[in-house]
Subunit: 250 residues, 2 copies
DNA sequence: CGGGGTCTTGATAGCTCTCAAGGGTCGTGG
DNA sequence: CCACGACCCTTGAGAGCTATCAAGACCCCG
Protein backbone atom coordinates (compact mmCIF):
# COMPACT_ATOMS: atom_id res chain seq x y z
CA UNK A 1 0.00 0.00 0.00
CA UNK A 2 1.83 3.04 -1.22
CA UNK A 3 1.46 6.53 0.10
CA UNK A 4 -0.68 9.26 -1.28
CA UNK A 5 1.17 11.64 -3.51
CA UNK A 6 1.21 15.12 -2.08
CA UNK A 7 -1.25 17.64 -3.29
CA UNK A 8 -0.27 19.84 -6.10
CA UNK A 9 -1.94 23.13 -6.86
CA UNK A 10 -5.31 23.23 -8.50
CA UNK A 11 -5.55 22.59 -12.17
CA UNK A 12 -9.15 22.27 -13.25
CA UNK A 13 -11.25 25.34 -12.40
CA UNK A 14 -14.75 24.38 -11.25
CA UNK A 15 -16.20 26.54 -13.98
CA UNK A 16 -14.57 24.23 -16.50
CA UNK A 17 -15.16 21.02 -14.61
CA UNK A 18 -15.39 18.16 -17.12
CA UNK A 19 -18.03 16.41 -15.01
CA UNK A 20 -20.52 19.22 -14.64
CA UNK A 21 -21.84 19.16 -18.22
CA UNK A 22 -22.85 15.51 -17.87
CA UNK A 23 -26.61 15.00 -17.84
CA UNK A 24 -26.46 13.27 -14.46
CA UNK A 25 -25.50 16.48 -12.72
CA UNK A 26 -27.92 19.28 -12.07
CA UNK A 27 -27.13 22.79 -13.21
CA UNK A 28 -25.73 25.08 -10.56
CA UNK A 29 -26.51 28.75 -10.24
CA UNK A 30 -23.66 31.19 -10.71
CA UNK A 31 -23.34 31.98 -6.97
CA UNK A 32 -23.36 28.28 -6.13
CA UNK A 33 -20.67 27.56 -8.65
CA UNK A 34 -18.68 30.50 -7.39
CA UNK A 35 -18.83 29.25 -3.83
CA UNK A 36 -17.88 25.71 -4.76
CA UNK A 37 -14.99 27.08 -6.71
CA UNK A 38 -13.74 29.01 -3.70
CA UNK A 39 -14.41 26.01 -1.49
CA UNK A 40 -11.94 23.97 -3.49
CA UNK A 41 -8.36 24.44 -2.42
CA UNK A 42 -6.55 22.14 -4.81
CA UNK A 43 -6.25 18.70 -6.20
CA UNK A 44 -4.68 15.48 -5.05
CA UNK A 45 -3.65 12.47 -7.04
CA UNK A 46 -3.20 8.91 -5.92
CA UNK A 47 -2.04 5.68 -7.47
CA UNK A 48 -3.91 2.36 -7.30
CA UNK A 49 -3.62 0.87 -3.82
CA UNK A 50 -2.93 4.20 -2.16
CA UNK A 51 -4.74 4.92 1.12
CA UNK A 52 -6.80 8.10 0.80
CA UNK A 53 -8.20 8.10 4.31
CA UNK A 54 -7.71 5.64 7.15
CA UNK A 55 -10.12 4.39 9.77
CA UNK A 56 -9.74 6.28 13.02
CA UNK A 57 -8.15 9.31 11.40
CA UNK A 58 -9.29 12.42 13.15
CA UNK A 59 -8.44 15.13 10.68
CA UNK A 60 -9.98 13.69 7.58
CA UNK A 61 -10.34 16.00 4.64
CA UNK A 62 -13.31 16.42 2.40
CA UNK A 63 -12.90 15.51 -1.25
CA UNK A 64 -14.81 14.92 -4.43
CA UNK A 65 -13.60 12.36 -6.94
CA UNK A 66 -12.67 14.14 -10.14
CA UNK A 67 -11.55 11.07 -12.03
CA UNK A 68 -10.83 7.42 -11.28
CA UNK A 69 -12.19 4.71 -9.03
CA UNK A 70 -11.85 4.09 -5.29
CA UNK A 71 -13.59 2.10 -2.57
CA UNK A 72 -14.60 2.44 1.08
CA UNK A 73 -14.02 -0.45 3.49
CA UNK A 74 -13.87 -1.54 7.10
CA UNK A 75 -11.88 -4.34 8.68
CA UNK A 76 -12.30 -6.54 11.72
CA UNK A 77 -9.44 -6.93 14.16
CA UNK A 78 -8.30 -10.20 12.64
CA UNK A 79 -8.04 -8.67 9.20
CA UNK A 80 -11.33 -9.69 7.60
CA UNK A 81 -12.19 -6.88 5.21
CA UNK A 82 -15.56 -5.69 3.96
CA UNK A 83 -15.88 -3.29 1.07
CA UNK A 84 -18.81 -0.97 1.77
CA UNK A 85 -19.16 0.93 -1.49
CA UNK A 86 -17.29 2.26 -4.48
CA UNK A 87 -16.43 5.85 -5.28
CA UNK A 88 -16.69 7.21 -8.79
CA UNK A 89 -16.31 10.66 -10.31
CA UNK A 90 -18.65 13.12 -8.63
CA UNK A 91 -18.79 11.27 -5.32
CA UNK A 92 -17.97 12.96 -2.02
CA UNK A 93 -15.21 11.37 0.05
CA UNK A 94 -14.90 11.90 3.78
CA UNK A 95 -18.29 13.44 4.46
CA UNK A 96 -18.87 11.26 7.52
CA UNK A 97 -15.57 12.38 8.95
CA UNK A 98 -16.27 16.03 8.17
CA UNK A 99 -19.71 15.99 9.71
CA UNK A 100 -19.26 13.77 12.72
CA UNK A 101 -15.57 14.21 13.28
CA UNK A 102 -13.87 10.86 12.96
CA UNK A 103 -13.62 8.42 10.11
CA UNK A 104 -14.90 4.96 10.82
CA UNK A 105 -13.90 3.52 7.48
CA UNK A 106 -10.92 3.64 5.14
CA UNK A 107 -10.72 4.63 1.50
CA UNK A 108 -8.32 3.24 -1.07
CA UNK A 109 -7.71 4.06 -4.73
CA UNK A 110 -8.60 1.41 -7.26
CA UNK A 111 -7.20 3.21 -10.28
CA UNK A 112 -5.18 6.37 -10.78
CA UNK A 113 -7.27 8.91 -8.92
CA UNK A 114 -7.70 12.66 -8.94
CA UNK A 115 -9.52 14.30 -6.05
CA UNK A 116 -10.73 17.84 -5.53
CA UNK A 117 -9.74 18.96 -2.04
CA UNK A 118 -12.13 21.13 -0.02
CA UNK A 119 -11.73 23.22 3.08
CA UNK A 120 -13.54 21.17 5.62
CA UNK A 121 -13.86 23.98 8.15
CA UNK A 122 -15.87 26.04 5.70
CA UNK A 123 -18.62 23.44 5.63
CA UNK A 124 -20.68 25.42 8.14
CA UNK A 125 -20.32 28.45 5.89
CA UNK A 126 -21.74 26.35 3.08
CA UNK A 127 -24.80 25.54 5.16
CA UNK A 128 -25.14 29.13 6.35
CA UNK A 129 -24.77 30.97 3.09
CA UNK A 130 -25.92 28.42 0.56
CA UNK A 131 -28.89 26.49 1.90
CA UNK A 132 -29.38 24.90 -1.48
CA UNK A 133 -25.91 23.41 -1.30
CA UNK A 134 -26.56 22.31 2.26
CA UNK A 135 -29.60 20.50 1.02
CA UNK A 136 -27.46 18.98 -1.72
CA UNK A 137 -25.00 17.59 0.79
CA UNK A 138 -27.89 15.93 2.59
CA UNK A 139 -29.16 14.69 -0.73
CA UNK A 140 -25.84 13.05 -1.44
CA UNK A 141 -25.80 11.48 2.01
CA UNK A 142 -29.27 10.06 1.36
CA UNK A 143 -28.11 8.71 -1.95
CA UNK A 144 -25.24 6.90 -0.26
CA UNK A 145 -27.72 5.54 2.27
CA UNK A 146 -29.81 4.10 -0.56
CA UNK A 147 -26.89 2.37 -2.11
CA UNK A 148 -26.00 0.86 1.25
CA UNK A 149 -29.59 -0.31 1.68
CA UNK A 150 -29.31 -2.10 -1.65
CA UNK A 151 -26.00 -3.67 -0.69
CA UNK A 152 -27.46 -4.89 2.59
CA UNK A 153 -30.32 -6.53 0.77
CA UNK A 154 -27.78 -8.15 -1.48
CA UNK A 155 -25.51 -9.48 1.25
CA UNK A 156 -28.36 -10.62 3.41
CA UNK A 157 -30.72 -12.18 0.95
CA UNK A 158 -29.18 -12.78 -2.45
CA UNK A 159 -27.35 -15.96 -3.46
CA UNK A 160 -23.72 -15.83 -4.51
CA UNK A 161 -24.40 -15.55 -8.22
CA UNK A 162 -27.17 -13.01 -7.68
CA UNK A 163 -24.85 -10.93 -5.54
CA UNK A 164 -22.10 -10.97 -8.13
CA UNK A 165 -24.53 -10.08 -10.89
CA UNK A 166 -25.98 -7.26 -8.80
CA UNK A 167 -22.58 -5.81 -7.99
CA UNK A 168 -21.43 -5.75 -11.58
CA UNK A 169 -24.71 -4.38 -12.90
CA UNK A 170 -24.59 -1.73 -10.20
CA UNK A 171 -21.05 -0.64 -11.01
CA UNK A 172 -21.82 -0.71 -14.71
CA UNK A 173 -24.78 1.58 -14.19
CA UNK A 174 -22.76 4.03 -12.13
CA UNK A 175 -19.90 4.05 -14.60
CA UNK A 176 -22.23 4.78 -17.50
CA UNK A 177 -23.86 7.62 -15.58
CA UNK A 178 -20.60 9.50 -15.26
CA UNK A 179 -19.56 8.94 -18.82
CA UNK A 180 -17.03 6.18 -18.31
CA UNK A 181 -16.97 3.44 -20.91
CA UNK A 182 -17.42 4.19 -24.51
CA UNK A 183 -18.77 0.86 -25.71
CA UNK A 184 -18.21 -1.84 -23.12
CA UNK A 185 -17.43 -0.69 -19.61
CA UNK A 186 -14.29 -1.96 -17.92
CA UNK A 187 -14.21 -1.93 -14.14
CA UNK A 188 -10.78 -1.82 -12.48
CA UNK A 189 -11.17 -4.60 -9.89
CA UNK A 190 -9.49 -7.76 -8.74
CA UNK A 191 -11.47 -10.81 -7.74
CA UNK A 192 -10.29 -10.17 -4.19
CA UNK A 193 -12.18 -6.87 -4.26
CA UNK A 194 -15.28 -8.61 -5.52
CA UNK A 195 -14.95 -11.24 -2.79
CA UNK A 196 -14.58 -8.59 -0.09
CA UNK A 197 -17.63 -6.79 -1.42
CA UNK A 198 -19.85 -9.84 -1.67
CA UNK A 199 -18.83 -11.37 1.63
CA UNK A 200 -17.50 -14.50 -0.09
CA UNK A 201 -14.15 -16.25 -0.16
CA UNK A 202 -11.84 -15.57 -3.05
CA UNK A 203 -12.15 -19.16 -4.25
CA UNK A 204 -15.89 -19.20 -4.35
CA UNK A 205 -15.94 -15.77 -5.92
CA UNK A 206 -13.78 -17.08 -8.71
CA UNK A 207 -16.12 -19.99 -9.34
CA UNK A 208 -19.12 -17.71 -9.28
CA UNK A 209 -17.61 -15.23 -11.72
CA UNK A 210 -16.75 -18.14 -13.98
CA UNK A 211 -20.44 -18.97 -14.24
CA UNK A 212 -21.19 -15.41 -15.34
CA UNK A 213 -18.31 -15.61 -17.79
CA UNK A 214 -19.59 -18.88 -19.22
CA UNK A 215 -22.98 -17.31 -19.73
CA UNK A 216 -21.32 -14.58 -21.75
CA UNK A 217 -22.30 -11.79 -19.36
CA UNK A 218 -18.82 -10.61 -18.40
CA UNK A 219 -15.22 -11.10 -19.34
CA UNK A 220 -12.34 -11.08 -16.89
CA UNK A 221 -9.22 -9.31 -18.04
CA UNK A 222 -6.88 -9.52 -15.07
CA UNK A 223 -7.25 -6.59 -12.68
CA UNK A 224 -10.41 -5.55 -14.45
CA UNK A 225 -13.81 -6.81 -15.52
CA UNK A 226 -15.56 -6.06 -18.76
CA UNK A 227 -19.35 -5.95 -18.69
CA UNK A 228 -20.85 -7.57 -21.77
CA UNK A 229 -24.54 -7.75 -20.89
CA UNK A 230 -25.58 -5.43 -18.11
CA UNK A 231 -29.27 -6.00 -18.69
CA UNK A 232 -28.98 -9.72 -18.22
CA UNK A 233 -26.84 -9.22 -15.12
CA UNK A 234 -29.56 -7.06 -13.61
CA UNK A 235 -32.12 -9.70 -14.51
CA UNK A 236 -30.08 -12.47 -12.88
CA UNK A 237 -29.80 -10.32 -9.76
CA UNK A 238 -33.47 -9.44 -9.72
CA UNK A 239 -32.43 -5.81 -9.60
CA UNK A 240 -34.59 -3.01 -10.94
CA UNK A 241 -31.77 -0.59 -11.51
CA UNK A 242 -31.14 2.49 -9.48
CA UNK A 243 -33.79 4.95 -10.60
CA UNK A 244 -30.82 7.29 -10.66
CA UNK A 245 -31.86 10.81 -11.22
CA UNK A 246 -30.17 14.12 -11.64
CA UNK A 247 -27.93 14.83 -8.72
CA UNK A 248 -25.83 17.68 -7.38
CA UNK A 249 -22.09 17.88 -7.88
CA UNK A 250 -20.14 19.52 -5.11
CA UNK B 1 -50.27 -6.38 8.84
CA UNK B 2 -52.75 -3.90 10.23
CA UNK B 3 -53.23 -0.35 9.11
CA UNK B 4 -51.79 2.74 10.66
CA UNK B 5 -54.16 4.45 13.02
CA UNK B 6 -55.04 7.92 11.81
CA UNK B 7 -53.22 10.86 13.21
CA UNK B 8 -54.71 12.59 16.16
CA UNK B 9 -53.88 16.14 17.12
CA UNK B 10 -50.61 16.92 18.80
CA UNK B 11 -50.19 16.08 22.42
CA UNK B 12 -46.60 16.57 23.49
CA UNK B 13 -45.30 20.11 22.86
CA UNK B 14 -41.68 20.07 21.70
CA UNK B 15 -40.75 22.33 24.56
CA UNK B 16 -41.78 19.56 26.93
CA UNK B 17 -40.45 16.69 24.82
CA UNK B 18 -39.55 13.82 27.15
CA UNK B 19 -36.59 12.88 24.94
CA UNK B 20 -34.84 16.21 24.78
CA UNK B 21 -33.51 16.24 28.36
CA UNK B 22 -31.66 12.96 27.78
CA UNK B 23 -27.88 13.38 27.74
CA UNK B 24 -27.65 11.87 24.25
CA UNK B 25 -29.35 14.86 22.71
CA UNK B 26 -27.68 18.21 22.26
CA UNK B 27 -29.26 21.35 23.63
CA UNK B 28 -31.18 23.41 21.15
CA UNK B 29 -31.31 27.17 21.06
CA UNK B 30 -34.64 28.83 21.68
CA UNK B 31 -35.17 29.75 18.00
CA UNK B 32 -34.28 26.23 16.90
CA UNK B 33 -36.71 24.73 19.34
CA UNK B 34 -39.36 27.18 18.28
CA UNK B 35 -38.94 26.26 14.64
CA UNK B 36 -39.00 22.54 15.32
CA UNK B 37 -42.13 23.03 17.32
CA UNK B 38 -43.82 24.82 14.43
CA UNK B 39 -42.47 22.21 12.04
CA UNK B 40 -44.38 19.50 13.88
CA UNK B 41 -47.98 19.19 12.80
CA UNK B 42 -49.18 16.38 15.03
CA UNK B 43 -48.65 12.88 16.19
CA UNK B 44 -49.41 9.47 14.82
CA UNK B 45 -49.69 6.19 16.60
CA UNK B 46 -49.28 2.69 15.25
CA UNK B 47 -49.63 -0.82 16.59
CA UNK B 48 -47.03 -3.58 16.24
CA UNK B 49 -46.97 -4.88 12.67
CA UNK B 50 -48.44 -1.70 11.21
CA UNK B 51 -46.90 -0.36 8.00
CA UNK B 52 -45.64 3.17 8.54
CA UNK B 53 -44.31 3.73 5.05
CA UNK B 54 -44.23 1.42 2.06
CA UNK B 55 -41.61 0.94 -0.62
CA UNK B 56 -42.44 2.87 -3.75
CA UNK B 57 -44.71 5.33 -1.95
CA UNK B 58 -44.35 8.72 -3.51
CA UNK B 59 -45.78 11.01 -0.89
CA UNK B 60 -43.92 9.80 2.16
CA UNK B 61 -44.10 11.92 5.23
CA UNK B 62 -41.31 12.89 7.54
CA UNK B 63 -41.47 11.68 11.10
CA UNK B 64 -39.45 11.35 14.25
CA UNK B 65 -40.00 8.43 16.58
CA UNK B 66 -41.30 9.74 19.88
CA UNK B 67 -41.64 6.37 21.57
CA UNK B 68 -41.49 2.72 20.60
CA UNK B 69 -39.53 0.55 18.17
CA UNK B 70 -39.76 0.11 14.39
CA UNK B 71 -37.61 -1.24 11.58
CA UNK B 72 -36.74 -0.45 7.97
CA UNK B 73 -36.64 -3.22 5.38
CA UNK B 74 -36.56 -4.11 1.70
CA UNK B 75 -37.83 -7.20 -0.07
CA UNK B 76 -36.93 -9.04 -3.24
CA UNK B 77 -39.63 -9.94 -5.72
CA UNK B 78 -39.94 -13.49 -4.42
CA UNK B 79 -40.53 -12.28 -0.89
CA UNK B 80 -37.10 -12.58 0.67
CA UNK B 81 -36.90 -9.81 3.25
CA UNK B 82 -33.89 -7.92 4.58
CA UNK B 83 -34.13 -5.70 7.63
CA UNK B 84 -31.84 -2.71 7.10
CA UNK B 85 -31.92 -0.99 10.46
CA UNK B 86 -34.04 -0.33 13.51
CA UNK B 87 -35.72 2.89 14.54
CA UNK B 88 -35.77 4.06 18.12
CA UNK B 89 -36.94 7.21 19.86
CA UNK B 90 -35.26 10.26 18.36
CA UNK B 91 -34.71 8.71 14.94
CA UNK B 92 -35.94 10.36 11.75
CA UNK B 93 -38.25 8.30 9.56
CA UNK B 94 -38.71 8.97 5.88
CA UNK B 95 -35.78 11.31 5.32
CA UNK B 96 -34.74 9.53 2.12
CA UNK B 97 -38.22 9.94 0.74
CA UNK B 98 -38.38 13.57 1.76
CA UNK B 99 -35.04 14.45 0.25
CA UNK B 100 -34.99 12.39 -2.91
CA UNK B 101 -38.70 11.98 -3.49
CA UNK B 102 -39.54 8.31 -3.38
CA UNK B 103 -39.18 5.70 -0.68
CA UNK B 104 -37.11 2.68 -1.60
CA UNK B 105 -37.73 0.85 1.62
CA UNK B 106 -40.62 0.10 3.94
CA UNK B 107 -41.03 0.79 7.65
CA UNK B 108 -43.00 -1.30 10.11
CA UNK B 109 -43.76 -0.86 13.80
CA UNK B 110 -42.24 -3.39 16.16
CA UNK B 111 -44.02 -2.16 19.28
CA UNK B 112 -46.73 0.39 19.95
CA UNK B 113 -45.32 3.46 18.30
CA UNK B 114 -45.79 7.20 18.57
CA UNK B 115 -44.43 9.40 15.79
CA UNK B 116 -44.10 13.15 15.52
CA UNK B 117 -45.35 14.23 12.10
CA UNK B 118 -43.56 17.02 10.25
CA UNK B 119 -44.47 19.15 7.26
CA UNK B 120 -42.23 17.75 4.63
CA UNK B 121 -42.61 20.70 2.29
CA UNK B 122 -41.12 23.01 4.89
CA UNK B 123 -37.83 21.14 4.82
CA UNK B 124 -36.32 23.71 2.47
CA UNK B 125 -37.38 26.42 4.90
CA UNK B 126 -35.46 24.55 7.57
CA UNK B 127 -32.32 24.63 5.47
CA UNK B 128 -32.86 28.26 4.51
CA UNK B 129 -33.63 29.75 7.89
CA UNK B 130 -31.86 27.40 10.27
CA UNK B 131 -28.53 26.32 8.81
CA UNK B 132 -27.66 24.66 12.09
CA UNK B 133 -30.68 22.41 11.79
CA UNK B 134 -29.83 21.74 8.17
CA UNK B 135 -26.43 20.62 9.31
CA UNK B 136 -28.12 18.46 11.93
CA UNK B 137 -30.21 16.70 9.31
CA UNK B 138 -27.03 15.89 7.43
CA UNK B 139 -25.47 14.77 10.68
CA UNK B 140 -28.30 12.34 11.23
CA UNK B 141 -28.00 11.04 7.69
CA UNK B 142 -24.30 10.45 8.27
CA UNK B 143 -25.07 8.63 11.49
CA UNK B 144 -27.43 6.32 9.66
CA UNK B 145 -24.74 5.75 7.07
CA UNK B 146 -22.34 4.67 9.81
CA UNK B 147 -24.77 2.20 11.23
CA UNK B 148 -25.29 0.74 7.77
CA UNK B 149 -21.54 0.49 7.30
CA UNK B 150 -21.36 -1.53 10.51
CA UNK B 151 -24.20 -3.78 9.42
CA UNK B 152 -22.53 -4.40 6.09
CA UNK B 153 -19.34 -5.42 7.83
CA UNK B 154 -21.41 -7.74 9.94
CA UNK B 155 -23.32 -9.40 7.12
CA UNK B 156 -20.30 -9.68 4.92
CA UNK B 157 -17.61 -10.78 7.28
CA UNK B 158 -18.93 -11.95 10.65
CA UNK B 159 -19.96 -15.53 11.44
CA UNK B 160 -23.51 -16.33 12.47
CA UNK B 161 -22.87 -16.13 16.19
CA UNK B 162 -20.80 -12.97 15.83
CA UNK B 163 -23.57 -11.37 13.81
CA UNK B 164 -26.18 -12.23 16.37
CA UNK B 165 -24.02 -10.96 19.21
CA UNK B 166 -23.30 -7.76 17.31
CA UNK B 167 -26.95 -7.10 16.57
CA UNK B 168 -28.05 -7.55 20.13
CA UNK B 169 -25.19 -5.52 21.58
CA UNK B 170 -25.95 -2.81 19.04
CA UNK B 171 -29.65 -2.65 19.88
CA UNK B 172 -28.86 -2.76 23.58
CA UNK B 173 -26.53 0.20 23.22
CA UNK B 174 -29.08 2.22 21.32
CA UNK B 175 -31.85 1.41 23.75
CA UNK B 176 -29.74 2.48 26.70
CA UNK B 177 -28.84 5.74 24.99
CA UNK B 178 -32.46 6.82 24.76
CA UNK B 179 -33.31 5.80 28.27
CA UNK B 180 -35.09 2.54 27.57
CA UNK B 181 -34.45 -0.27 29.99
CA UNK B 182 -34.17 0.31 33.66
CA UNK B 183 -32.07 -2.66 34.63
CA UNK B 184 -32.01 -5.24 31.88
CA UNK B 185 -33.07 -4.09 28.44
CA UNK B 186 -35.84 -5.97 26.65
CA UNK B 187 -35.96 -5.72 22.88
CA UNK B 188 -39.33 -6.32 21.18
CA UNK B 189 -38.31 -8.76 18.45
CA UNK B 190 -39.20 -12.16 17.08
CA UNK B 191 -36.56 -14.58 15.92
CA UNK B 192 -37.89 -14.03 12.41
CA UNK B 193 -36.84 -10.39 12.69
CA UNK B 194 -33.41 -11.42 13.86
CA UNK B 195 -33.13 -13.87 10.97
CA UNK B 196 -34.14 -11.22 8.45
CA UNK B 197 -31.58 -8.83 9.90
CA UNK B 198 -28.70 -11.27 9.98
CA UNK B 199 -29.36 -12.81 6.58
CA UNK B 200 -29.89 -16.26 8.09
CA UNK B 201 -32.71 -18.77 8.04
CA UNK B 202 -35.11 -18.83 10.96
CA UNK B 203 -33.95 -22.30 11.97
CA UNK B 204 -30.30 -21.46 12.08
CA UNK B 205 -31.05 -18.21 13.84
CA UNK B 206 -32.81 -20.16 16.53
CA UNK B 207 -29.86 -22.47 16.99
CA UNK B 208 -27.48 -19.54 17.10
CA UNK B 209 -29.51 -17.65 19.67
CA UNK B 210 -29.63 -20.81 21.74
CA UNK B 211 -25.86 -20.75 21.98
CA UNK B 212 -25.97 -17.19 23.28
CA UNK B 213 -28.69 -18.21 25.71
CA UNK B 214 -26.66 -21.18 26.94
CA UNK B 215 -23.74 -18.88 27.57
CA UNK B 216 -25.98 -16.75 29.74
CA UNK B 217 -25.72 -13.66 27.54
CA UNK B 218 -29.38 -13.30 26.62
CA UNK B 219 -32.76 -14.69 27.51
CA UNK B 220 -35.56 -15.21 25.02
CA UNK B 221 -38.99 -14.28 26.26
CA UNK B 222 -41.27 -14.85 23.30
CA UNK B 223 -41.62 -11.81 21.07
CA UNK B 224 -38.78 -10.15 22.93
CA UNK B 225 -35.18 -10.63 23.94
CA UNK B 226 -33.62 -9.69 27.24
CA UNK B 227 -29.97 -8.68 27.21
CA UNK B 228 -28.12 -10.09 30.18
CA UNK B 229 -24.49 -9.32 29.32
CA UNK B 230 -24.04 -6.66 26.69
CA UNK B 231 -20.32 -6.36 27.28
CA UNK B 232 -19.73 -10.02 26.58
CA UNK B 233 -21.96 -9.84 23.50
CA UNK B 234 -19.82 -7.01 22.15
CA UNK B 235 -16.71 -9.03 22.90
CA UNK B 236 -18.06 -12.08 21.08
CA UNK B 237 -18.86 -9.88 18.11
CA UNK B 238 -15.50 -8.15 18.14
CA UNK B 239 -17.37 -4.88 18.23
CA UNK B 240 -15.94 -1.75 19.79
CA UNK B 241 -19.23 -0.10 20.47
CA UNK B 242 -20.59 2.85 18.60
CA UNK B 243 -18.59 5.80 19.90
CA UNK B 244 -22.03 7.35 20.13
CA UNK B 245 -21.83 10.98 20.92
CA UNK B 246 -24.28 13.77 21.55
CA UNK B 247 -26.65 14.10 18.64
CA UNK B 248 -29.36 16.45 17.48
CA UNK B 249 -33.04 15.73 17.97
CA UNK B 250 -35.36 17.02 15.30
C1' DC C 1 -61.43 -26.53 20.86
C1' DG C 2 -59.21 -25.22 16.62
C1' DG C 3 -56.02 -22.07 14.28
C1' DG C 4 -52.25 -19.06 13.84
C1' DG C 5 -48.01 -17.41 15.40
C1' DT C 6 -43.76 -18.42 17.84
C1' DC C 7 -40.10 -21.19 19.45
C1' DT C 8 -37.48 -25.74 19.30
C1' DT C 9 -35.05 -29.74 17.60
C1' DG C 10 -33.30 -33.50 14.54
C1' DA C 11 -31.94 -35.09 9.95
C1' DT C 12 -30.41 -34.42 5.44
C1' DA C 13 -29.11 -31.73 1.44
C1' DG C 14 -26.55 -28.12 -0.43
C1' DC C 15 -23.80 -24.18 -0.50
C1' DT C 16 -19.45 -22.06 0.83
C1' DC C 17 -14.92 -22.27 3.08
C1' DT C 18 -10.40 -23.88 3.58
C1' DC C 19 -6.55 -26.35 1.95
C1' DA C 20 -3.65 -27.37 -1.80
C1' DA C 21 -1.52 -26.94 -6.08
C1' DG C 22 -0.56 -24.94 -10.51
C1' DG C 23 -0.43 -21.52 -14.44
C1' DG C 24 0.12 -16.83 -16.02
C1' DT C 25 1.98 -12.15 -16.14
C1' DC C 26 4.97 -8.52 -14.83
C1' DG C 27 8.85 -6.16 -12.95
C1' DT C 28 13.42 -6.63 -10.87
C1' DG C 29 18.00 -8.13 -10.38
C1' DG C 30 21.74 -11.34 -11.49
C1' DC D 1 18.74 -13.29 -21.26
C1' DC D 2 17.00 -15.77 -17.50
C1' DA D 3 15.78 -16.60 -12.66
C1' DC D 4 12.92 -15.11 -9.16
C1' DG D 5 9.31 -13.27 -6.39
C1' DA D 6 4.88 -11.07 -6.07
C1' DC D 7 0.42 -10.88 -7.43
C1' DC D 8 -3.50 -12.61 -9.80
C1' DC D 9 -6.43 -16.16 -11.62
C1' DT D 10 -7.95 -21.17 -11.68
C1' DT D 11 -9.37 -25.81 -10.18
C1' DG D 12 -10.12 -30.01 -7.36
C1' DA D 13 -11.20 -32.16 -2.93
C1' DG D 14 -12.90 -32.48 1.53
C1' DA D 15 -14.55 -30.16 5.70
C1' DG D 16 -17.78 -27.19 7.76
C1' DC D 17 -21.47 -24.13 8.00
C1' DT D 18 -26.24 -23.04 6.75
C1' DA D 19 -30.73 -24.08 4.39
C1' DT D 20 -34.53 -26.89 3.94
C1' DC D 21 -37.72 -30.34 5.44
C1' DA D 22 -40.32 -32.19 9.09
C1' DA D 23 -42.41 -32.52 13.41
C1' DG D 24 -43.78 -31.05 17.82
C1' DA D 25 -44.54 -27.93 22.05
C1' DC D 26 -46.37 -23.79 23.72
C1' DC D 27 -49.33 -19.80 23.95
C1' DC D 28 -52.98 -16.70 22.92
C1' DC D 29 -57.37 -15.82 21.08
C1' DG D 30 -61.77 -16.31 18.77
Amino acid sequence: MSLVLPSTGRRVPCEQCPLRPLPTFRDFTVPELKFVSSFKTGEMTAEPGAAIVSEGAHSAHLYTVLSGWAFRFKTLDDGRRQILNYLLPGDLVGLQGSIIGEMEHSVEALSPLVLCVFQRDRLDELFRNHPGLGFDVTWLASREERMLDDHLLSLGRRTAIERAAYLLAFLHERAIAVGLGKGNVQIPLTQQHVADTLGLSIVHTNKTLRKLTNRGLIRWLGRSCEILDAGELARVAGWDGPAERVRPLI
